[in-house]
Symmetry: C2
Subunit: 119 residues, 2 copies
Amino acid sequence: MIINHYEDIEAVELMEGVKKRVVIGDNEGAPTFIMRIFDLDPGKSSPYHIHPWEHEVFVLQGRAVVTNDTGDQISIEAGHTIYIPPNEKHCLTNKGEGIFRFMCLIPRGVEETEAQTVT
Amino acid sequence: MIINHYEDIEAVELMEGVKKRVVIGDNEGAPTFIMRIFDLDPGKSSPYHIHPWEHEVFVLQGRAVVTNDTGDQISIEAGHTIYIPPNEKHCLTNKGEGIFRFMCLIPRGVEETEAQTVT
């Protein structure tokens, strides 16, 4: 088995104020799905986007809104789970004063580059 | 999308002092992998077992040890991730004074009944 603390995994800055850690993934040999942790600075958002695979999200810290397929915003905080089916538009936006941290798992082998940003 | 708070998901007592919540699974239509949250009371342990699928674990709360394939015990606490490959013996044992809570994800469609308890 492979044991790490997520804070010891390198965080990559995807865009200003948006960091990603792949905590269990290809490096560990995960065969089916990949565990990532994202940090959003206050006011920052993931892109409003769509892709043909699902997300399974667990909120670890902070306060945010998730924007759904029809543009509605739903408040979320630590302990909330979000299942986002394939082909549904979504984004998460930090509405708190500290870091908003969440886990987001995806199937292995999907290409993030196939995600389409939408408006 | 489907949003829940994990505390609102019914917890099933698998054995005395060991509770399981399926927070994203068949009910939500998850196609690839299943998110569960387990609570162990102080001193309680998951069975030392083995099965042909992987676990991806994230520790949410508390202090425990994970026992690996060779019987060694490694200390873990909130923020630790554990990748347990298929066919590796393992169990988690609460060594703290409060609840030990962890997420444990598995591929969809594997049969928990195929897991074999070992000594």
